[in-house]
Symmetry: C2
Subunit: 128 residues, 2 copies
């Protein structure tokens, strides 16, 4: 099911196993952080995600709701998440709603909706 | 299906038929605009939505993806939307991801994820 692809992707991110996470994306995957912008391609996703993840000692993406339709060839998954990042003793949290399109067993589009101000506040909390 | 309840709700908003739209919500519905805050109850949703809608001559909530699970007693729906609002000749647009929980045929939770900066820019465009 498309949901299983997304769950496996998120679990790999939580293990900070970027190679395995990125193996779930198509070569030309579109990664769209709505208030920031889009990048295209697995390498561009790595360049975006790797330095972000590297700032933190632990990552938890808590999926509070997740729904999907279609099949592995042509699927749609959306989830509501609380993306949590641990810096030292402090957990920083970002509420996110994500959309994933699945094509032939891989994620071809990953689009996250969140508030840019919440991300900015998260990073300024990290700097204290 | 839970998706049909949400579709009917959105279509009523697009007709600016708030009475019909609100009839799809439970009495104690939670309405959560994530970067702004929550209100509880059908009357509070009306007080939030009515003055917002009244600023505009036309409303289109274009659903680009929508997925659901469960049944009318206990359902989950998520959608990706482009909420469009016409002021004079100008269409203002806000990208949104929404979560809806359906209980006994009504929406008990409506939670929208969007960027507060995008909403602020939308309103400042409206003032020109």
């Amino acid at each position: 099911m498309p949901i299983d692809i997304v769950t496996s992707f998120i679990e790999a991110v939580e293990r900070m196993d970027l190679d395995h996470a990125l193996s779930h994306l198509t070569d030309d995957c579109e990664y769209d952080n709505v208030p920031i912008g889009k990048v295209f391609g697995r390498d561009a996703v790595r360049d975006t995600l790797a330095p972000f993840i590297a700032r933190f000692e632990q990552v938890q993406w808590v999926v509070t709701h997740q729904v999907g339709s279609g099949n592995l060839d042509h699927g749609v998954v959306m989830n509501e998440r609380l993306d949590r990042f641990r810096a030292g003793e402090t957990w920083l949290e970002l509420p996110v709603a994500g959309l994933f399109l699945v094509r032939h067993g891989q994620i071809s589009l990953w689009r996250d909706y969140f508030d840019m101000g919440a991300l900015t506040r998260m990073f300024s909390a990290d700097s204290h």
